[in-house]
Symmetry: C2
Subunit: 144 residues, 2 copies
């Protein structure tokens, strides 16, 4: 059921991120040039504030439970060209200028495999993208 | 720490979605024509299977705890032109042909407000998009 707080959050000018039980919002990063989705990650209040203040993407790693500036190990940073927030303010979309690749696997995008449609069983993924960098060289650790 | 199961999931052809504790993966839907992010929602195993089998977007509503075919009330369906899955298989990206608008608020996209960058406090959202349909007419209920 809609409440007046819901209406304010959806139709107002107030920035009121709706963090989940873990204190996170979902963030979708797309390539400002190609429009491709590069990655889906999470931001806590501090990552969101730092991203807004600096125009560089900061995230919160759920596996490492740590704030993380994208590219801090690899140099593969994301400059944020634009940030948007969704209707109920639990997700943000950033358009970024991505250095090299966003994915720790070495690809430009984390979404390098297609899921074929029209199948009811035995789905086999199709690889679409080659690596744009060597992750063994780029990373001291695997996640940023 | 990486395991061999992680490597298989990231570098293999096997479709092995990694559902969270609630049985969901995140789904980003973008406009197949413009590339804009239309919405971020969730799919359970059944929604994912139905989307793959039918080429129409199905989701799982966390608030209503129900499977939901996008547009089933409004007619604002999403035909899926392409589906991709990310490196660790906990998020999917679908490029869709969206009828009218994706957002229950009446906008084409749920991301109709920008968050200005370079601020350290007092962030005020900027509206970017007008409504493309009247939600009072389109919906019998507010969510699909």
């Amino acid at each position: 059921m809609s409440t007046s707080a819901d209406t304010d959050r959806e139709e107002g000018f107030g920035f009121a991120p709706k963090f989940d039980a873990s204190g996170l919002v979902t963030c979708v990063a797309t390539d400002a040039a190609s429009g491709d989705v590069l990655m889906v990650a999470h931001m806590n209040a501090e990552a969101l504030a730092k991203t807004i203040a600096t125009g560089e993407a900061w995230y919160f790693s759920r596996s490492r439970r740590a704030l993380w500036r994208k590219g801090e190990a690899s140099g593969h940073t994301q400059r944020v060209a634009e940030m948007r927030i969704d209707c109920d303010q639990d997700a943000v979309w950033i358009k970024v200028e991505q250095v090299a690749g966003a994915c720790h696997s070495g690809r430009r995008s984390c979404f390098y495999r297609a899921v074929p449609l029209g199948k009811t069983r035995a789905v086999t993924l199709e690889f679409l993208d080659d690596r744009v960098f060597d992750p063994k060289i780029a990373y001291r650790d695997k996640s940023n």
